[in-house]
């Protein structure tokens, strides 16, 4: 009864048991009873009305935000007080902490929901095949707004080219670095890890000015320069992620390969990397998703232009994020709207890559990539001794097998 949860005969017997004992009342103990829900709702209502009354007096603090800012502490205090009176102090504190924590999660999710609505609401009206295929060529920003708003095609092409080149440079470098840290090792392992950490904390704009100083001053603005900057952003992210994934690969597998007299590179190439494949895909895609949305380093590398430039090696290029940034600063509403649309396209791209990472990463359960937070791949602590979490399933089995 240990690791046989999914074997069919157990499943069957379980169902038989289920029928036999269906009369038994199953208990799933809850600390929070219906009466407690009533208390919670009443407290919410009471604090709402209190603040509503006070708010009418304090007209200065206007707007929904001010209301919520006052409502939350009032509710928390009232809830604590009510529970203190009705139950013990411990219950009150426990519930207080519980509501604070739940509120925290709610506040956290709120911007994401609002952002998504915002981007779609503002960007969708203008989105059309026309906008996706046209460029800004010939668009005059100073004239009366209206007929000619142009499109985002040049930025879309630019973004894809820049990110593709950045990935082509950054990902192999990142994989090799991670393999060096985790598989090859040597005197420099620790310091390389520290350096990768330091790089992952380096602001994106620093990557931009660096590429400007080392490349653009000699070879001028180009999509390739932007790609170099993005590669610098991509490199530490993917390296850390890959390293975490490689750590999860069991050492038995490596030893088995060595015992079969496989050369080192074969062990890595044919055993270690394939085992970690889904986790690798996730970490790579997350790196790409993060770098695709960068704006700051593009300002001083690709510079931006209005026309289609499909050649990333010569002359300024455009990117979706940079286009948004430039458009929303313009004084014409229709041009600002185009900036929204460009941001929407960018958001959809990031979201798509993100979902892809999630799906591919969750494919195989045993590889350790699926259940964990994607962001754990950008974990940065050097010499991180954090072990991968045990999944809930493992814990369950521990308990059940007495």
């Amino acid at each position: 009864m240990t690791a046989v949860m999914d074997s069919p005969d157990i499943e069957d017997s379980g169902e038989i048991e289920e029928k036999k004992v269906s009369a038994i009342r199953r208990i799933r103990p809850k600390e929070f009873k219906p009466s407690d829900v009533v208390i919670l709702l009443l407290t919410l209502a009471a604090s709402y009305s209190i603040i509503w009354i006070i708010f009418a007096q304090l007209t200065l603090l206007s707007g929904a935000l001010g209301f919520v800012v006052l409502w939350i502490p009032t509710f928390l205090f009232l809830y604590w007080f009510v529970n203190r009176q009705m139950f013990t102090r411990q219950v009150a504190v426990d519930r207080l902490i519980g509501s604070i924590v739940t509120l925290g999660a709610g506040i956290m999710m709120l911007p994401l929901v609002m952002l998504t609505i915002f981007v779609f609401q503002k960007g969708l009206p203008l989105l059309s095949w026309d906008v996706l295929t046209k460029t800004q060529q010939g668009v005059v920003y100073t004239g009366p707004s209206g007929n000619n708003i142009g499109g985002v095609a040049h930025a879309l092409v630019g973004t894809i080219e820049e990110v593709a080149i950045a990935a082509a440079i950054g990902i192999p470098a990142a994989l090799l670095t991670a393999v060096f840290i985790n598989e090859v090792g040597g005197r420099f392992t620790k310091s390389v890890r520290v350096v990768v950490t330091a790089m992952s904390g380096t602001p994106a704009i620093v990557a931009g000015v660096f590429i400007y100083s080392i490349w653009v001053t000699k070879f001028h603005y180009s999509g390739f320069a932007g790609a170099l900057a993005l590669a610098i952003i991509l490199l530490p992210t993917v390296t850390r992620g890959t390293e975490e994934v490689l750590k999860v690969v069991h050492n038995d597998l490596r030893e088995a390969a060595i015992a079969l007299a496989a050369p080192e590179w074969r062990t890595v190439w044919s055993v270690v990397l394939p085992t970690a494949r889904s986790g690798l895909i996730t970490s790579v895609l997350l790196g790409v998703a993060i770098s695709i949305g960068e704006t700051a380093p593009l300002i001083m590398t690709i510079f931006g232009n209005q026309v289609m430039n499909a050649n990333p090696f010569v002359g300024p290029q455009m990117g979706l994020s940079l286009l948004s940034y430039k458009q929303i600063k313009l004084p014409i509403q229709s041009q600002i709207d185009l900036g929204y649309t460009s941001a929407l396209v960018l958001f959809v791209l990031v979201f798509g890559i993100f979902i892809l990472a999630r799906i591919l990463g969750a494919q195989r359960k045993g590889s350790g990539g699926g259940r964990r937070s994607l962001l754990s791949f950008v974990r940065w602590t050097p010499g991180s001794a954090l072990e991968p979490n045990e999944s809930a399933v493992v814990k369950k089995e521990e308990f059940s097998s007495d």
Partner: protein
Amino acid sequence: MTSELAPSPLKLANKRSNEDRLFRGVTRGAGLATFVILALIGVFLFIEALPAFRSQGWRFLTNTGWQTTGAHPQFGVLSALSGSIIIAVIGLIIAIPVSISCALFINEYAPDTLLRFIPFKNFLTAAVDLMAAVPSIIYGMWGFFILQPHMVGLEKWLSTFFGSLGIFQNTSGAYTSSFFIAGTIVGIMCMPIITSLCREVFSLTPSGEREGAMSLGASRARVIRDVVFPFSKGGMIGSIMLGLGRALGEAIAVAIIIALAFPLNFHVVQAGGNSIAALIALQWGAGGNLGTSALLAAGLVLFILTLIINMIASRIVNASKMAGR
């Protein structure tokens, strides 16, 4: 064989094949390349920043203006540096409680499934990760067009009731484009990073101690306070420091919101402010060759600052790990 010879360990010669030596060489090369890149960042920024340093000398660190053209250029990074720090601190004040709460909620409170079929915990984790991947330009636009109008009311209230504290003073009557709004957006942008890392650290709390506390009658809040927090202290500090690094370096969202103002300013709810990253983004291409050089110099300052913070953070984390084990 004489008995005088002390036994010495056999020296094992492990002769690697050529392909393995190539493999090792290539991977080591990649590893060492990261050193080279980091060093190059420092060196090249310094070289390109030299004209700016020559022009201003040490005053670059103490000047507040940004006059890079004309016969008597006068510029310095002080107000931008202090602005970066103000924004980052505001951001962290907002982000830390929310992030830690959210991480605790996901780890300790959220049910695995909601209504029996929504994988609630996984969903929340994915949402937090997605928030981290949302481009900063979108945060900036949202902050400028949606959040700012809401924030103004709060700012007015703060300046009315707490204006005497100095930092909430508003002398101009303009409340938009302030440090407070920029800091709030930066805080929101830091939240997913801090949340994700804290959650990871919390989930590593040994179940033995957790159950030990529960078996003594500890409530959930108690378990958090007396088991989860002490265990996760180092990791929490580390993730906050990482958040600080991100907050200091955020350029675009701040550039969209803040109205660039060069005098040293500590009035956080008042229009106008400065930050290194936003300064570079906003002033790029303006101010001539010396201006560009000055911006690169500012970039170098930012680079060194974040480098130091990251080094300290990793030290703290490592030290607390040693103590914990």
